[in-house]
């Protein structure tokens, strides 16, 4: 057994720095590269892409990335875990296999595919058997939005990825696997942690939580002494150095910017936290109140003491459904009395929308530069502000009404308060809202399958 393995984070979300994974692979020694591509909304976009083209529905950026880094990954035996498969892991794997063959890697690597998270086709079967998939937040049964569902995926844990790694996969491609599982799986695989070794599974899960948002653990978006954090232009993404006993060090490659420190890790630990005693994943329940952090030198933080509890009997399900339409329009008002003018414009706009008889579930106004982020906590708007942006959003079930709203913004320039600009972008776009429905399903209902392909 190895005494230490290094797992590097290469993407904090779909749309993160494109060259970050390349820099992780080339900037120093690592054993694994984990890449998180999926957010709730992503699944529904991918589902639509697959409906149009059966060969689509995965994170397309992943394929050119593999073209760039696969030769080095094979040469250095760096293994990749990625939830880039979206709603179509086999198609993603086929595209990566094509690239690998073009690179002359035939016979030198395998691709693992995790299947079984997509339950879109089974929804009616579940509902008919009394598995209601109630909304975890609101308690509503799924039947209330059944006709609008666009995708439905179970969050799978680390175990199927472990199986793929055991099968020799150089690259493991999953659909909706948890972000934390992408980091935990290599640790289980390398150190042989048992499926009921809750403390170690919790430790690997927390390691995954720390690096799953990329540079947000290594100096990005860090409030603590932010002005002093060096060279964010060249920010190093975080790396876990895991040990068999479940302790680990968070660090980053030498010569990169950013900072790994106890405060930077604390900020990431509390990010999107619920009840810290129970951080629930498919693999275990981790206790964030047991985490001990220790400064272990420059850009090194040691993490230990982590306790875990048994996993629950449920998987979390991520369901997306259409929930109407929205649009947001903006205009910029200048000194003097920028805020007062923006407010007057908002009142004029609302009066016109009402006269037109448009129906919206919500009209929401913000004054950027005055109260958009902190509301009333920001205090009385400054009368002398150089400019204020009026930002009005509407939401409704009738597309035509939302469309009509988008045509009422620009006319304010010639028919409202003076000193206004910022309409050059044209009319706002109407967006279809794809909303997120969290639910639980008994694990016994879900069967996962792992395939390992020779390239």
């Amino acid at each position: 057994m190895r005494e230490k393995i290094k797992i590097a984070s290469g993407q904090g979300f779909w749309g993160d720095l494109l060259d970050a994974p390349v820099r992780q692979v080339e900037g120093g020694e690592i054993d694994y590269l984990m890449l998180d591509y999926l957010a709730e909304v992503t699944m529904s976009i991918m589902q639509k892409q697959r409906a149009r083209d059966p060969g689509a529905g995965y994170a397309r950026d992943f394929v050119p990335l593999m073209r760039e880094i696969l030769p080095r990954c094979v040469e250095k035996n760096i293994r990749v875990t990625a939830n880039a498969g979206g709603v179509n892991p086999p198609a993603c794997a086929a595209a990566v296999a094509d690239v690998a063959r073009e690179l002359g890697l035939s016979g030198r690597m395998k691709i693992g595919i995790v299947i079984g998270d997509d339950i879109m086709e089974r929804i009616d079967e579940f509902l008919s058997r009394g598995i209601e998939l109630r909304n975890m937040d609101t308690g509503e049964p799924l039947s209330s939005v059944r006709a609008s569902i666009q995708s439905a995926n179970v969050y799978l844990g680390a175990q199927p990825l472990v199986e793929a790694l055991a099968g020799g996969a150089q690259v493991v491609i999953t659909g909706r696997a948890t972000d934390t599982g992408l980091t935990l799986a290599p640790l289980i695989h390398e150190f042989g942690w048992r499926a009921d070794d809750w403390d170690r599974l919790a430790a690997g899960t927390i390691a995954g939580h720390i690096i799953e948002c990329g540079a947000q653990a290594s100096g990005g978006n860090c409030q603590y002494e932010w002005e002093s954090i060096p060279d964010l232009a060249n920010v190093g993404f975080p790396i876990v150095e895991g040990s068999p006993d479940g302790t680990f060090v968070i660090t980053k490659h030498d010569g990169t910017g950013g900072r790994v420190s106890v405060p930077s890790i604390k900020e990431q630990l509390v990010y999107e936290m619920g009840d810290p005693h129970e951080y629930i994943t498919p693999d275990c329940v981790a206790d964030f109140t047991s985490i001990q952090l220790e400064d272990a030198g420059a850009d090194r933080v040691r993490v230990h003491g982590i306790k875990g509890k048994p996993a629950t009997a449920f998987y979390k399900v991520s369901i997306s459904y259409s929930a109407g339409f929205k649009a947001v329009g903006t205009l910029v008002y200048s000194w003097p009395d920028a805020y007062a003018k923006a407010r007057a414009a908002d009142q004029i706009l609302r009066a016109r929308l009402e006269r037109l008889g448009l129906k919206f579930d919500l009209i929401h106004t913000e004054f950027v530069g005055a109260n958009a982020t902190h509301g009333a906590l920001a205090g009385e708007p400054d009368r002398d502000a150089p400019e204020v942006q009026l930002r009005v959003g509407v939401r409704g079930s009738d597309r035509a009404d939302v469309e009509r709203f988008t045509k009422e913004i620009a006319p304010l320039v010639l028919t409202g308060p003076p000193g206004v600009t910022g309409f050059a972008g044209g009319r706002p776009k109407v967006e279809e809202i794809v909303a997120y429905w969290p639910a639980l399903i008994p694990k016994t209902e879900i069967e996962t399958r792992v395939e390992v392909l020779e390239v």
Partner: protein, 141 residues
């Protein structure tokens, strides 16, 4: 470990906010930005704000002064639901869950900050009162 505040704005029960410790006669006001750093995020229509003591010695002050009730009051008009508080003495941090704070949350929200990312700094605007003696011993004067 976990106290829940329900703050009824319209015609509901009024909760007494003054549950703080006995103060020395002379006090000073300190804004949380001098005592803590923070990060916030979202889960649906709930925002979480993690509040971390800038120095370990400040943590007891955060525990006693930054109660769920006070946070609910601070976010009046922003947080329309309940506020839950959790303590993490191991990393000298408090975690707050601000329910019904993101205009429906996720893609439903029309807010600039639909993910509640800036509620972290919004909490740092809060002002607490500290006894002069305590402030002196913490090096705040």
């Amino acid at each position: 470990m976990n106290d829940v505040a329900r703050w009824e704005n319209e015609g509901g029960a009024v909760i007494k906010l003054d549950t703080r410790r006995q103060k020395s006669l002379s006090t000073m006001k300190v804004q949380l930005v001098k005592l803590a750093h923070a990060r916030s995020g979202d889960k649906g229509d709930t925002a979480n704000v993690g509040l971390i003591a800038l120095r370990d010695e400040f943590y007891p002050l955060l525990v006693s002064e930054v109660t769920a009730e006070r946070v609910k009051h601070h976010f009046e008009g922003i947080c329309k639901g309940t506020v839950e508080r959790f303590e993490l003495p191991n990393i000298k941090a408090l975690n707050f869950l601000l329910h019904e704070s993101l205009g429906g949350g996720g893609t439903l929200s029309l807010m600039t900050d639909a993910q509640g990312k800036t509620l972290s700094t919004a909490l740092l605007r809060m002002v607490i009162e500290i006894g002069d003696d305590e402030a002196r011993s913490l090096g705040l004067q």
